[in-house]
Subunit: 336 residues, 2 copies
Amino acid sequence: RDEHVTLSHGSGGKATHNLIEGIFAPAFANTVLDRMEDAATITIGEQRLAFTTDSYVVNPLFFAGGDIGKLAVHGTINDLSMAGADPLYLSVGIILEEGFSMEQLKRIVDSMARAAHEAGVLIVTGDTKVVQRNKADGIFINTAGVGVVRATANVGQTQVQPGDRVLLSGAIGDHGVAIMMAREELDIETDVESDSAPLHTLVAALLDSIGTSLHCLKDPTRGGVATALNEIALGAEVSIALDEQSIPVHEGVRGACEILGLDPLTIANEGKLLAIVAPEVEQEALKVLRSHPLGREAMVIGTVQAEPAGMVFLRTDIGGTRVLDMLVGDPLPRIC
Amino acid sequence: RDEHVTLSHGSGGKATHNLIEGIFAPAFANTVLDRMEDAATITIGEQRLAFTTDSYVVNPLFFAGGDIGKLAVHGTINDLSMAGADPLYLSVGIILEEGFSMEQLKRIVDSMARAAHEAGVLIVTGDTKVVQRNKADGIFINTAGVGVVRATANVGQTQVQPGDRVLLSGAIGDHGVAIMMAREELDIETDVESDSAPLHTLVAALLDSIGTSLHCLKDPTRGGVATALNEIALGAEVSIALDEQSIPVHEGVRGACEILGLDPLTIANEGKLLAIVAPEVEQEALKVLRSHPLGREAMVIGTVQAEPAGMVFLRTDIGGTRVLDMLVGDPLPRIC
Ligand SMILES: Nc1ncnc2c1ncn2[C@@H]1O[C@H](COP(=O)(O)OP(=O)(O)OP(=O)(O)O)[C@@H](O)[C@H]1O
Ligand SMILES: Nc1ncnc2c1ncn2[C@@H]1O[C@H](COP(=O)(O)OP(=O)(O)OP(=O)(O)O)[C@@H](O)[C@H]1O
Ligand SMILES: [Mg+2]
Ligand SMILES: [Mg+2]
Ligand SMILES: [Mg+2]
Ligand SMILES: [Mg+2]
Ligand SMILES: [Mg+2]
Ligand SMILES: [Mg+2]
């Protein structure tokens, strides 16, 4: 085991997974945390609630299509949505570096307020800390969120069955590439914007239409679609077979990835979801996704199989099949 | 208004108050946040829930009586308790600096797990990010928490009435002085230990005994008792008169404060509460506090008055009266 934390431990990929499984999960173990879902599902009285948290350390703070504040609101809304919940309330914990610009802080706070307002969630509690110069990087934001699991929802990795279909709500890699492009060191021209968006109404539409035939949801953030599907394959003890040709990638993302030697399947998204559904509702689910502004480019990208459990395979464009692993290393640290 | 963030904005005192009132509160405004209580009280279905968050950036990470992990669990339990809630579930968001020692991480995580277990709360969801060297300071921890407001609780700044009594559950300043002592630069010998402790059972005992005669609770963390009572005086639009002689301060804290020119009333605590109660239950409340291991040194320290609203006065040991302000500046940055 590593003696020191490396950037890979923050990639959201294999090293993060190993750190969580090696240190956090055993120490905190309980039946809720052990499910390792995007949001915890807790029952209080008669209410099924979802509860989740994410910290945001994205660099730079402002980029095409968004900023750290918008991301911090959308990201937590999305993890609640992945539990089939309507997001209701957010907390915001802000860590500031001494010397940070008040004007930038105000822009970020206004962006959070706008994102919350547009999504219909309330920021009801917060905290503000300051550390000395060079002990942080401008601003870090944590959001936690509470939502109510929708009555018709019964999603989770344990619901995934062999034969299920894997749907993706749209093109991948936009967020990660937008962040790369915003980093000064790069000098590539693209029109790629972050896809940062709140996914709760898309999930509500799916649940209204296919109910418990919606088996599992996951937003492919850090580590991208490759990592998200590997986590599901491991958690659900199934195999997933993907068809590369069906996976939508915008031209600008494809170009940037080729230049940089990156795989769009491992790049972060902030407004996309993976939905695993019963085979008989595949076309219905696809129709619902495509009827929503955030799902217009949705595709069926693969199938769940019984064996070999815990593995993801990709039928490539040129006709071969390869193992699709979790993200290894961290080519793009601090993507969110 | 300041153009840049200063360490004072993180003191928990006047500058923090102004930053929150100037930037966060107006942007996020809603009827829940506007109450500016230690925890938000939200109603979901029939359930009255409490929801709160704090980030921890304490330096050093380990000190007499505790560490950042224990603090992060107790602090959020305590803010939930200040809403009259039984704490149930915590989230944990961890930001690590590249190169941080895995052995220290493990110690901190084990300390969090122990504190959560001892308090009967579950850590059900989390997040882990890593930033480059010199972009953080080892580890920052955010915890958010959800609890159920106890049936007999009706606490809040709006409940505070002229004539009410102010009780303090024990001696002040232990946490802040323990942190100071743990900083290498100081060379004073004391036996002061952080008072870090979970206050929910103390609150439960109070509520079981005096119910709605318990009007308001606040844990005097950053900014100490002076800041906490000023916040209540402002929020409740009352005046508070304190009797300095009645305020317990341990010998080691008094000595360290004298040497360093600090006022124990502005120093942080992590296991103390202020309770504002109806005058007729003063002695009953005091008895309940003193019967609990965490309230043995409890005292009645003051009285609520109608005028002048928003101000706190201190009758000093030598017989005079002075205005007791919120903490100004930040003599001890990163106390929690
Ligand atoms: N420090 C931690 N302690 C406890 N559980 C954790 C911790 N970090 C992550 N987890 C848990 O591990 C799982 C994966 O977390 P992760 O942060 O990768 O998910 P995510 O929020 O959906 O992804 P992202 O952070 O990229 O948006 C979740 O179930 C989460 O609750
Ligand atoms: N960034 C923020 N956005 C919104 N509200 C905030 C923010 N920071 C603090 N608040 C609110 O301001 C009030 C005071 O916050 P503060 O953090 O000082 O309270 P506390 O947690 O009880 O004290 P401490 O942080 O010292 O333990 C609370 O009602 C809190 O919800
Ligand atoms: Mg997620
Ligand atoms: Mg997330
Ligand atoms: Mg706080
Ligand atoms: Mg508090
Ligand atoms: Mg607090
Ligand atoms: Mg996360």
